[in-house]
């Protein structure tokens, strides 16, 4: 095969680049269509189409039937969707996912913005170390994150210990309490997502022209004005990206809830992912499928809405 190598590949790399470069996202040389390109795409398309797109389409179909997976399925039309909208447990799971957005997305984005704007105002020593630590929750399996926080939120756990230093420890089992369980799960999500948001925003701040900061400071602006005049407009697209990723994580959460509460107490911490799994295993495929379709619709809507924000940021 070596003989096939275009001999001047190395030379080409050294070619003077003074020439005006072709616009990126190149149209490529040769105006001809390259049908052979389809062969390159085909393997990925087959795997993805067969194991993701086709099943997703089948989920839509299954959502219109009552089926236990074994016996004859019976047609239900939209009835499963009506149940998703009206059944307190099914509908509740969607409302819970909505509340989780506050903790998985809004809090991390808010905290990330504050921290990033604090930290980019000066050179930070040991930034690489901090980065290493802040990303750590992102790489851990969420199941393990769940185990860590089961302990931390237990009556004898870390959170109550810290509260105890301030005389606030009441020995609560945070994950077992009717009023606090879902919020406790939300805080776990905030712990996972905050570092990512902060690092995204710091990377974004690095791309903001330093002279803009100098300029507003010469105008006598304080940190507050500086943030709204320079940092926020400069970070619009990063905020959009962070929202996209974290909102999807909030809506489609499963692992953490499965390990920490599994929906208890009562149905207070049910989320769509958990109910889809439970109904599936219990042989209620119609409702599982309908809930999955609704969930996907919500995720798609959220992705479209937040990517809009990031795109309008790029047009600045």
């Amino acid at each position: 095969m070596r003989a096939d190598r275009p001999r001047s590949a190395a030379k080409a790399g050294l070619a003077p680049s003074g020439r005006s470069a072709k616009p990126v996202g190149r149209p490529g040389p040769g105006r001809r269509r390259q049908w052979s390109g389809l062969w390159f795409v085909l393997p990925a398309l087959l795997l993805y189409g067969g194991l993701i797109l086709y099943p997703a389409a089948r989920t839509i179909n299954l959502s219109l039937w009552r089926w236990d997976g074994v016996n004859q399925a019976t047609w239900r039309g939209w009835a499963n969707y009506v149940d998703v909208a009206l059944d307190p447990i099914l509908r509740g799971s969607i409302l819970h996912a909505g509340l989780l957005i506050v903790f998985f997305s809004l809090i991390p984005v808010g905290l990330g913005l504050v921290w990033a704007s604090l930290l980019t105002r000066r050179r930070i020593r040991g930034l690489a170390w901090f980065r290493l630590v802040f990303f750590l929750p992102q790489i851990l399996p969420l199941v393990a994150v769940g185990v860590i926080w089961r302990w931390a939120l237990a009556p004898q756990g870390l959170i109550n210990q810290v509260l105890g230093w301030f005389g606030l420890d009441q020995g609560r089992a945070w994950l077992g309490e009717w009023d606090y369980a879902l919020i406790a799960i939300g805080l776990i999500g905030a712990w996972v997502q905050s570092g990512l948001c902060m690092m995204l925003f710091m990377a974004g701040c690095g791309r903001i022209d330093r002279e803009l900061y100098e300029a507003v400071r010469l105008d006598g602006a304080g940190p507050w004005r500086e943030f709204w005049a320079v940092t926020w407009p400069g970070l619009r697209s990063e905020v959009g990206l962070a929202l996209t990723v974290t909102v999807i994580a909030a809506l489609a959460s499963f692992d953490i809830v499965f390990v920490t509460t599994n929906g208890s107490p009562g149905h207070r911490t049910d989320v769509p992912g958990l109910l889809i799994y439970q109904r599936l295993v219990a042989g209620d495929l119609g409702h599982a499928a309908a809930l999955a379709v609704v969930l996907s619709g919500l995720v798609l809507l959220a992705a479209l809405a937040t990517s809009r924000l990031s795109r309008s940021g790029e047009e600045r």
Binding site: D4, R5, P6, A9, A12, S17, K22, G25, R26, P27, P29, R32, R33, W35, S36, G37, W39, F40, V41, P43, A44, L47, Y48, L51, I52, P55, A56, R58, T59, G69, L118, L119, R121, R122, P137, I139, L140, P141, L142, V143, G146, V147, I148, R150, W151, A152, Q156, G157, L158, Q161, L196, E238, A242, I248, A252, D255, I276, L285, A289, A292
Partner: protein, 273 residues
Amino acid sequence: MRTSRAEGAASYLVLIAMALGVLTPLLGLVLAAFHPPGAHVSGLSWPERFSWGNLATAWREGHFASLMGASLTVCLIVVPLTVVLASLAGYGLGGLRTPGRGGLGLVFLLGMTLPIEVVIVPLYRDLRDLHLTDSLITLSLVEAAAFLPFGVYWMRRTFASLPAELVEQALLDGAGPWQRLRWIEWPLARPAVATLAVLYFMWAWNQFLLVVTLISDPNRRTAPAGLGFFVAPHSTDLPLLSAASLIVIGPIVAVYLIFQRQFVAGLLAGASR
């Protein structure tokens, strides 16, 4: 940059406080794992005597030998398969003038917003009918399919941003699409490929929902799935549970420490889909 001294101190204070906030729960887990078996660990507490036995007990009782083997098998199938397929497709969509590449790109883009939940219902049912469940190969193929859209997007962007002069030169030399990919574009894209491989390893290692729906035999699942079902029966033995968690997060943390640069690049880019 002119900022006040006090402000600088405040920045470090915030950073250190946040770092502690991230690390303390983890540290608590590590310390809990070394308490005597069955001990009631309250809060963050230093064990009087480090007992290593929990790790061995968790390894045995959780069947982690086979779980870790399964995890490794899945990673060894998923990572090369997805990297190669995503590179090929990314090249077809971003490096060549393939007809219909815009529409195909959108089809893959759609996959990045589909939650796993939307495919598990028919997969759980249909693959069972075909006797394809309870197989690590099936699981790996489904994971690969689920991870592909991001990789295709990532590699498409990489290939599309390579300098056009190189490609023109290769074309003048009469290189076909395949030679160009093999000898010019793929070597140039290597850093992006490394980042993708590291991300894929992490996703394959951490995947949970697909594993528990596609593999019903608890002992043939992957390590995180095994941990998920280790929790309920051992929920009162915190040291044992912590030790099991350490076993599961050990490999991924090791990979993270070795490939930090790729992880940071990948996580930041992974977010900027």
